[in-house]
Amino acid sequence: MINKVVKNVEDALKGVASGMEFMLGGFGLCGIPENCISELVRLGVKDLTCISNNAGVDDFGLGLLLQKRQIKKMISSYVGENDEFERQMLSGELEVDLIPQGTLAERCRATGAGIPAFYTPAGFGTEVAEGKETREFNGKMYVLEKAFNPAFAFVKAWKGDTAGNLIFKGTARNFNPMMAMAGKITVVEVEELVEAGTLDPNQIHIPGIFVQRIFEGKNYEKRIEQRTVTIKS
């Protein structure tokens, strides 16, 4: 059994440097790698390109890196809910590449799966397709989209084992599995780290082969962006 465990978040992020391209899992604040983001803030690495569906809120998630101006470019599908982001984008400090959410997900998967490019209907006829090859298949038009090449992927899982096998929970799964497949170095923080052999091999969402480093995270806040409830009648 190949052991992927690292001692702590400091060891997990060894090799991280300014100017790098990262993937970061999560949808909104759900399933984000909180410990890795904190450590990126502490390390103070700059000029980062971050591939992440969203950009956090002002004081949490990727918003923390934006506050410190550590991000040069965001590659996302939706970046609302963040005033600092808006300020930096409108002032031109921050580059933003907006891409359709499904295209983002598929490009992440393609990266990990050795597919350099694929065709998708999303964005055809819109500015998203500008400068890209378009093509007809069976009477419908498609856009050619390409894989990424991130140096690190930072992933949050629910449970993981010492062999790097991962299980996600609820909708905190979102982009995390494909990003886990895509990192040249994939760093995973889990809520619960267990011994290899504990998890049912039939129920593993992402096999350990994709994971280079795993550690048990601490002090998860798991903030809720929109707390909507039904009041008991």
């Binding site: 949808f27 909104g28 604040l29 759900c30 399933g31 569906n53 996302s76 599908s77 939706y78 970046v79 609302g80 808006e86 984008m89 409108l90 933003v96 907006l98 359709p100 959410q101 499904g102 295209t103 983002l104 997900a105 598929e106 992440c108 998967r109 998708t120 209907p121 999303a122 964005g123 055809f124 006829g125 819109t126 500015e127 998203v128 629910w158 996600f168 929970k169 609820g170 909708t171 905190a172 799964r173 979102n174 982009f175 995390n176 599995p177 494909m178 969402h205 798991k222 903030r223 809720i224 962006e225 929109q226 707390r227 909507t228 409830v229 039904t230 009041i231 008991k232």
Partner: protein
């Protein structure tokens, strides 16, 4: 009288068919889930990775790890499932979702839709909208017939950057239900008490009125 947002949702709910999987966008579309007709089984897909989305959780049971695409805390119904974003958009692109309901800033008479970007204003991103409109066969737009300045949102052609081309099949507004085909808006129903004249005035694109146009039933 023109419909309010809740009534637009109510009217759209009448479009639901038995055994359909449905993706509801943020805003008015979300309200559609409250008006599922009796005897109709539908399942709601949330593109962040949830099928069989249920109502908001009972206060105190909300789970940060269970949200919808609008980032609201939700529940999952019996028979629901959880999956990653690649699988979620495989469902959408692969046309396994039978109906998509979403809002729009503009719809053109050829079915083009613009709903993600206003030049010169902060752009928040298209999220999953471009995938949804490029993939679905059956797209209903839920929106006000005119914008805040009173200008028609049903146009000869969109002035804003597009989200998708030639994709909208039906529109339900506060004034009317319209089908989009043959490069025109075909009026199907009027909101109760709303005159044809009112709808004509509010529609900048090519509006086709054939025969008697019934009032909506809510």
């Amino acid at each position: 009288m023109a419909l309010d947002k809740t009534q637009i949702a109510q009217r759209i709910a009448q479009e639901l068919q038995h055994n359909w999987y449905v993706n509801l966008g943020i805003g008015i579309p979300t309200l559609v889930a409250n008006y599922i007709p009796e005897g109709i089984d539908v399942e709601f897909q949330s593109e962040n990775g949830l099928l069989g989305m249920g109502p908001f959780p009972i206060e105190g049971t909300e789970d940060a790890d269970l949200i919808n695409a609008g980032k609201q805390t939700v529940t999952i119904l019996k028979g629901g499932s959880l999956f990653d974003s690649a699988m979620s958009f495989a469902m959408i692109r692969g046309q396994h979702v039978q109906l998509t309901v979403l809002g729009a800033m503009e719809v053109a008479q050829n079915g083009d839709i613009a709903n993600w970007k206003i030049p010169g204003r902060m752009v928040k991103g298209m999220g999953g909208a471009m995938d949804l409109v490029a993939s679905a066969d059956n797209i209903i737009v839920a929106m006000m017939h005119t914008n805040k300045r009173g200008e028609s949102k049903l146009l000869k052609q969109c002035s804003l950057p597009l989200t998708g081309v030639g994709c909208v099949t039906k529109i339900v507004t506060n004034l009317a239900v319209l089908e989009v085909k043959d490069n025109a808006f075909y009026l199907l129903e009027r909101a109760p008490g709303v005159s044809l004249e009112e709808i004509k005035t509010a529609t900048a694109g090519n509006l086709i009125i054939e025969g008697d146009i019934p009032e909506m039933k809510l």
